[in-house]
């Protein structure tokens, strides 16, 4: 097995507010190998974005470690971290908030090129940007246009071009298609898949949509209330989810089929979706209150993430 490109070991991130502590990420471990995509799934407030941000060093950690090729990101010197940013890039959720609206597309995409001094002169810089724009499905004339003329999908392409500019090996995609229309979503996913095939990129793909993650990632980690509750190969997890929460998450996505929806409508009532996310006051399993098959033990202590023989890990008393 190839060594992991990015590895999180018992990563914790707590947010402090006056005397309150909010454990947003609680002992999360995962590994991403080269050319592989890890999907991080969970509903809003599950800590998936925080987890991603801590693991690539956008937030400071509270405990644990995040290793990039064996080196701890949070213990890197400024110089080392600067070099790391050339290897790892991010694409953010909101294509309207991720850029300076007064910049031109050329300058937006060239940001990484400028910071890492990858272009010898303006001509080279422009050529590099145009090449990137074409790679993500935009045209040369877009380079000199201001950001305001770009639509949501085009902006997301700009975000991808900006991330690709420094020739990274790892891209952290934080809900990078959630704000887009379904048909544009598919275009962006295809683009990410093509880039992965041609450049052996690794993705940390954060999304709330398990069916979308299923399309793109090799392995998936389902998060809830700051913990990973199920992880394994995507196809295995999606085909036969073991944790009741994963099952609920898979069933939640609406299907474009009215008759199926009518049948599912009744089933969905069965699994009342969660009201509150975040840590459970009693300290039990985060899905305890909604779980259709909860045991008394579930309310007392959070179930440990146990490894199964097929390489999957599930945190549930019921199935272990």
């Amino acid at each position: 097995m190839a060594a992991a490109l990015l590895e999180a070991r018992d990563l914790c991130k707590y947010f402090y507010e006056k005397k309150n502590v909010f454990p947003a990420v609680e002992r999360v471990s995962f590994a991403i190998r080269e050319g592989e995509t890890l999907g991080l799934v969970g509903e809003s407030g599950s800590g998936k974005t925080t987890c991603g941000r801590v693991s690539v060093g956008l937030y400071k950690k509270t405990a644990g470690a995040s290793l990039y090729q064996g080196r701890d990101i949070h213990r890197m010197s400024k110089k080392q971290y600067f070099d790391f940013t050339k290897e790892a890039q991010s694409i953010f959720q909101d294509p309207y908030a991720a850029f300076d609206p007064r910049q031109k597309a050329l300058d937006i995409v060239a940001e990484g090129i400028d910071i890492h001094r990858l272009a010898k002169n303006g001509g080279v810089r422009r050529r590099m940007v145009v090449e990137l724009l074409e790679k993500v499905g935009l045209r040369e004339e877009h380079a000199s246009q201001p950001l305001t003329v770009f639509s949501g999908g085009q902006r997301q392409r700009l975000g991808i071009a900006r991330a690709l500019a420094v020739n990274p090996r790892l891209i952290f995609c934080d809900e990078c298609v959630s704000a887009l229309d379904v048909s544009i979503q598919a275009q962006i996913i295809n683009l990410l898949l093509d880039l992965q095939a041609s450049r052996r990129l690794s993705y940390l793909f954060v999304s709330h949509d398990l069916t979308l993650v299923r399309q793109i990632s090799h392995r998936v980690a389902v998060m809830r209330a700051g913990r990973i509750i199920e992880t394994g190969e995507t196809e295995k997890v999606c085909a036969a989810p073991r944790h009741p929460y994963t099952q609920a998450l898979l069933a939640a996505k609406p299907i474009a089929d009215p008759e199926l929806e009518a049948i599912r409508g009744r089933e969905k009532l069965f699994l009342t979706p969660p009201e509150k996310s975040g840590p459970v006051p009693g300290g039990g399993c985060s899905f305890y209150a909604q779980c259709p098959s909860a045991l008394p033990a579930c309310g007392k202590a959070p179930p440990p993430l146990l490894e199964w023989e097929d390489g999957r890990q599930v945190a549930c008393y019921q199935v272990s």
Binding site: S183, I184, I189, P254
Partner: protein
């Protein structure tokens, strides 16, 4: 069913420095009393502008609407309303729920206060309805939209609410005036899948209980499938197809609707790639002369780019604006045969590609095995 809302040949344009942006071009639709109609389309297709026009939310000088009679609500042409009548209309006759609940709520005001405002606003004629009574109905409304502990929650601020709860509060404010029509403009887009389901369920329950008509606007056909009775598909400011939910989902006629239904599904040619609709939606500044979808349509004929297609009724209540849907067109039959052949070819090449890929992975695996063996012998 009597039509509650009737839109006849509505066009809305916005004058701007770059010319006239034609956001909505000549659309007609009807929403019956208590009916749930979905308006589906990509961003920029004019669905939100349609909703805003119905609610009279566009600034007077900033847009051009073709005629005052274009929108008839309950038999009344609403664009002849005075501003006082408009105030009566909004909230009481029709109400709207927006995509972003945080933007719709005042962050400095308690949730209860914001909903009470909607109540007292519309019951001005009832002096006996005091603040206390208003707060009592606030609690009831909050309970109706599924917010637990309504008395406590009413005293909280929007930042103390989660996204789904905020959207519920916004819905509570919208239904406070007992509107006959509720417009939900992408009500679930900013929410995650779990909450999405709950909000859709809630909207549908409210519609049934209150006999309220619902105009559900979304870009996601999945959202629409479980809720709507009729679906209207918009593209490039025009209605391209409309029909009962089963017609649209099981017998889509317009290539755009077909594309939308397929978008996001995995291609079954062995790769992990997804179906997409290639290209970008047209600009409202320079809408295509013919069919708005022609530049992206894989089946476009030369006539599609020249002349806008007529609206063709396929079955009762199901119509599409597409040259292909016109009955007895010899070209259509010919194209059908061509496409059939093309599909066969595609399937074959797809198969070839798949076997090719399999062979490659096989080869890779073998070399890896050899390498491992070598390592073993070295040791």
């Amino acid at each position: 069913m009597r039509a509650l809302l009737e839109i006849n040949n509505l066009s809305v344009s916005f004058p701007g420095p770059a010319g006239l942006a034609r956001a909505v071009r000549d659309i007609s639709l009807q929403v019956g009393q208590g009916e749930c109609v979905a308006l589906v389309g990509e961003s920029g297709c004019g669905k939100t502008v349609t909703a805003q026009t119905i609610m009279g939310l566009l600034e007077d000088q900033s847009f051009i609407i073709n005629s005052a009679e274009a929108i008839i609500f309950n038999g009344q042409p609403i664009y002849e309303y005075s501003s006082k009548q408009w105030r009566q209309f909004r909230g009481k006759e029709a109400a709207i729920v927006f995509q972003e609940p945080m933007a719709a709520l005042d962050p400095t005001m308690r949730i209860g206060g914001q909903i009470a405002e909607a109540i007292t606003c519309h019951r001005r004629g009832f002096p006996w309805l005091g603040k206390k009574a208003a707060y009592r109905s606030v609690s009831r409304l909050l309970a109706d939209v599924g917010i637990p502990d309504p008395e406590i929650r009413a005293r909280q601020y929007p930042h103390e609410f989660s996204g789904g709860m905020r959207q519920r509060a916004v819905i509570a404010a919208a239904i406070a005036g007992d509107p006959a029509l509720l417009i939900a403009d992408e009500p679930t887009t900013s929410l995650d899948v779990m909450t999405q389901n709950q909000i859709l369920e809630l909207l549908n329950t409210l519609r049934r209980e209150r006999r309220m008509a619902l105009l559900l606007i979304s870009h996601d056909l999945g959202v629409v499938a479980g809720a709507a009775e009729r679906v209207i598909v918009m593209y490039g400011g025009k209605i391209v197809e409309s029909g009962k939910v089963a017609d649209i989902f099981y017998a889509p006629a317009h290539p755009y609707t077909k594309g939308l239904l397929r978008a996001g599904q995995q291609k079954n040619d062995g790769s992990k790639r997804l179906f997409t609709i290639e290209g970008m939606p047209p600009s409202p500044l320079a809408p295509p002369v013919g069919c708005p979808f022609a530049p992206r349509c894989r089946e476009a004929m030369s006539i599609c780019g020249r002349t806008p297609p007529p609206e063709v009724t396929l079955v009762q209540g199901h119509s599409a604006s597409c040259w292909f849907c016109r009955p007895n067109r010899p070209e259509a039959a010919e194209r059908e045969r061509e496409r059939e052949a093309e599909r066969e070819r595609e399937a074959e090449t797809g198969k070839q590609a798949a076997t090719e890929r399999e062979r490659e992975t096989e080869r890779e695996r073998e070399t890896e095995r050899e390498r491992e063996l070598e390592k073993g012998t070295e040791k």
